[in-house]
Every structure is written in structure tokens, then in C-alpha cells.
Amino acid sequence: MVAMLHAPYVIGSYVVTLGGIALYTVGMFARARKAAKRLPDEERPWS
């Protein structure tokens, strides 16, 4: 492993990026489930 200068900034940027995407994804799936609960199963043209 290469020694790291400015490690907090580098790791911070990875954490913010991946964390942001993960949060967005979780929120999106939560909305999907909430919507799906109010619909019958057959109305999904993609499945």
C-alpha cells in the first residue's frame, strides 16, 4: 500500500461519493416499495 498524504481528503471523497449514492439508492427503493404496496402486481410492463 502506498503511503498516503492528505488521506482524510481522499478517503473523505470516496466516502461521500459512495455514501451519497447508497443513500439515494436506499431512498429510491423505499419509494418503489411504498408505491408498489398500493398497486396490484400485474401493472408492471417491465417484468
Binding site: S13, V16, T17, Y24, A35, S47
Partner: protein, 247 residues
């Protein structure tokens, strides 16, 4: 990214999943794993930028994806406005892509300023590229606000499509004005072919995995929007039935 675990209530983790999106999601996840591995550990430090170069493996791809996403929003909006291809599906793709674009643009701004702190010693500098990006970010937040204004689906689609095209009109104007405003800007040390093989490979992984991630997110998001539209329609049916009981 909850792709493989299944919840008890339904057979698939998300009602918007299909076999294709699951494969795509796994590929994106593997790509991001590689990106972390190569970006943070296996690739060497840059001679000039030292360790700061590692941020670029996420910064550059997310910037590209954000611009691509806004491009997709513009094209889908045009497709909706053109009478022969008018379909609410285009509107949902436009909205999904704009939302994911705003996410990536937010990542771009944060990772960019962290990189700037390392390379330039400051979080922000008023050069043309940064300023345009910031304005774009705010513009599409405004676009998303317009999408939430209400009305029928068709009204939403038409209004937001017009807004998206106005944004396309605005971007070059903002870009050129800030470019002339501050003609001197920092040299981009990265894009001058100074990256060695392993660094280029890391950047390449970043591009691929973020592109997969973008496609995966937009497919899901646009399906969630479709579900929400169906919920609205169904709610209308129920309300119609209730209303007819009144009489």
C-alpha cells in the same frame, strides 16, 4: 445497494427490478469494488499531484456522467415535445436522468473541492469550468422543483420539458460568459497525458462503473416514477368511484 438479499414480502428486493437490472447492478457493484481497490490501493501516486490524483478517479467520471445525464434529459424532453414521439415515458426518463444527474453533479462538486484543497490549497476557485458546473447544479435543482408543481401528468411533462430545453439554451451562455469573465484558469495537470498505465486503468474503471451505475439508477428511478404515476391514476379511479357514489 440491496441487490441480492430478498425481503420477505415480495420475491424481488425491489418492485422495479428485473433480471437485466440485477445483472447490471451486480456489474456496477463489482466495478465500484474494483474502483476502490485500484483507486485507493493499487495505483501509484502521481509525481505532481501525489495522492490527490486518487480523487480524480471518481471526480472525472461523475462529472462526465452528470453532463451525460443532463444531455439525456434534454433529448428525452425534446422527444416528448415532438408530437410524433409524444409519450409520458420520455418525460419520466427525463426526470429520472435529471435527478441522477443532480446526484452526480453534487458528487462532482464535493470531490472536486476536496481535490482542489489538495492540489491548489483551496476548496474553490472561480474558473469557468467550476462556475458553470455550479450553475448547472442549481439550474437542475430548479428543474426538479418545477417537476413537483403538480397538475396532470401531461401538464407536468410539457412544463418540465420546456424547462429542460430552456436549460439547454442557458448552459452555453453561462459557460461562455464565465469563461470570458475569468480568462485565466488553472491548468488541468491531469489531462496532459502524464498518467501512467495503472492510473489510466483506474480512471477507466471509474468511467465504466459509473456509467453502469448511471444506467442502473435511471432505469430504476424511471420505473419508480412510472409506479407513482400508476398510483396517481389508481387513486383517481378510486376517487371517481367514490364520487359517483355521492350522486
Amino acid at each position: 445497494m440491496n441487490l441480492t438479499s430478498s425481503s420477505s414480502s415480495s420475491p424481488s428486493p425491489s418492485p422495479t427490478s428485473t433480471r437485466f437490472t440485477r445483472a447490471l447492478g451486480v456489474a456496477a457493484l463489482v466495478g465500484i469494488g474494483w474502483l476502490v481497490l485500484f483507486g485507493l490501493f493499487l495505483s501509484p501516486n502521481d509525481r505532481v499531484q501525489k495522492t490527490g490524483v486518487r480523487i480524480l478517479y471518481i471526480h472525472v467520471p461523475s462529472a462526465w456522467l452528470a453532463y451525460l445525464a443532463f444531455g439525456v434529459t434534454g433529448l428525452s424532453s425534446a422527444a416528448y415535445l415532438w408530437k410524433r414521439t409524444r409519450n409520458l415515458q420520455w418525460d419520466r426518463v427525463a426526470g429520472a436522468s435529471a435527478e441522477v444527474g443532480v446526484l452526480f453533479m453534487g458528487i462532482t462538486l464535493v470531490s472536486g473541492s476536496l481535490w482542489g484543497r489538495i492540489s491548489w490549497g483551496q476548496f474553490w476557485t472561480w474558473d469557468a469550468r467550476l462556475t458553470t458546473t455550479a450553475f448547472l447544479f442549481v439550474t437542475y435543482i430548479g428543474y426538479l422543483a418545477v417537476r413537483d408543481l403538480g397538475g396532470t401528468h401531461q401538464q407536468r411533462a410539457k412544463r418540465s420539458a420546456v424547462m429542460a430545453l430552456l436549460a439547454v439554451l442557458e448552459v452555453p451562455l453561462v459557460h461562455f460568459s464565465v469563461k470570458w469573465w475569468r480568462p485565466l484558469h488553472q491548468n488541468e495537470t491531469v489531462e496532459k497525458g502524464k498518467l501512467n498505465g495503472l492510473m489510466l486503468f483506474s480512471l477507466f474503471i471509474g468511467l465504466i462503473s459509473f456509467t453502469l451505475l448511471y444506467v442502473w439508477l435511471v432505469i430504476h428511478r424511471q420505473r419508480v416514477l412510472a409506479l407513482n404515476d400508476q398510483v396517481d391514476d389508481r387513486g383517481l379511479d378510486l376517487a371517481l368511484a367514490a364520487r359517483r357514489e355521492e350522486s
